[in-house]
Amino acid sequence: MSESRLRAFAERAELLVDLPDVEALERRGSDVRARRRTTTAAVALLVAIGGTVAVQERFQRADEPDKVDTPGRPVVPYPGNQMHDLAAGTYELTPSSVRGDPTALITLPTGWNSWEGPNRFDGHQSDDPTAGRYNDVPLASLTWYVGVLVVKVLGISEDACLTTPGHYRFVETYAESVAAFSDLPGYRMVAAPREEMAFGRRATHLVLRPRDVVDTCVHEAGVFLTSANGDIGGEEHLELWVVDVDGVPLTVMKGATGEVPPEILAEQSAVVDSIVFRTHQDN
């Protein structure tokens, strides 16, 4: 009965919908495409000129852990989710709100922005030191985005495209975290989880992609419940490591959305490679 009334409503309503000017929609779509191409080309050129050299000089590779010299490196507390430019340097991230849990040192070149984790996107105004507060403007029309997060994950959404927090599969241990990430709603695994040494510690490496039908929502939905940042979204391309940091499972997430220039992806990899965990015993 109620289903037939539902269908009757739809049949009637369909007759009442006015058609808008489809050419106006096409023009708007074409404008978006044109802006996207122009911005991507300009950023790719800038990065090609300066980015690669800076990255090569600044970063140490993850396969050379002995060269990491954290005690001598000036470390700045990471500002957290305040939208502004970050100066090049090493920052200390606090993935957990529990006092005494491990922290993570991460080294950034210029051009990165502060949020839950450091990120970079097209339109970022890194040449202007006062422009950080305006980063929400390019954020609204970006065509690519990369970010790095180091988080203590407390729960993983039970539902893709979740819009309201509260439906989480809670995790506590390293094994529970790996199991939950391996079955992330809305995502498929590109390859089986691989146990490996990463960041000098036992880790499991996963590469995930959203299923096609949800790829428009993953970065908006609350996919992960984290200790220090509450609920956070996913990305179109999500590579992550669940790391056993002296018994505390921490997760390094390397996310990318949109058509990211290869130079930026290389820079992002270098940022991930720079991560060094600092435990209570190190301090």
Partner: protein, 171 residues
Amino acid sequence: MAEGEVLARGPVATGVDVAAVFAASYRRLVVQLYGVTGNAGEAEDLVQEAFVRAYAAGARFRRVDNPEAWLRVTAINLHRTRWRKMRNFARIKDRITGPPDLPGLEEHWEVVDALRRLPENLRVVLVLHYLADRQVHQIAEELGVAEGTVKSRLSRGRDALAAELGQEERS
């Protein structure tokens, strides 16, 4: 016409232009989003924005298997994003002015109001099943949830809608 009959086969699947999809699907999508949002103006806005994104996506859109499903998911996700950002304002505005309806739908307002009173997760599943003619496994794929979740929501949605309409009829 069920959307899959034309849109998932034939010329659309191999790259028909967006205008053809617009002509075939626009009205149907607006009604579906009206069911999801309970707001006719919002529904039109969301579906138009989804078509803008389809034009912007270019070849990527032409390669999708089911353009209407792509547009619907895009519009639903846009709604969810906006809802997160604007929910407080929207609630206040709706309280003051009431959400817009399509003129000429007077005899169906009970159904529209009953839908509005349902939790969104039940409403979306009902709309996808009854208005978009999607099967349980297709809804599960579109929403990225388990089929069991869809079945459960469908069952609860049917009961809730019947209860809401029953109350309307009794009052």
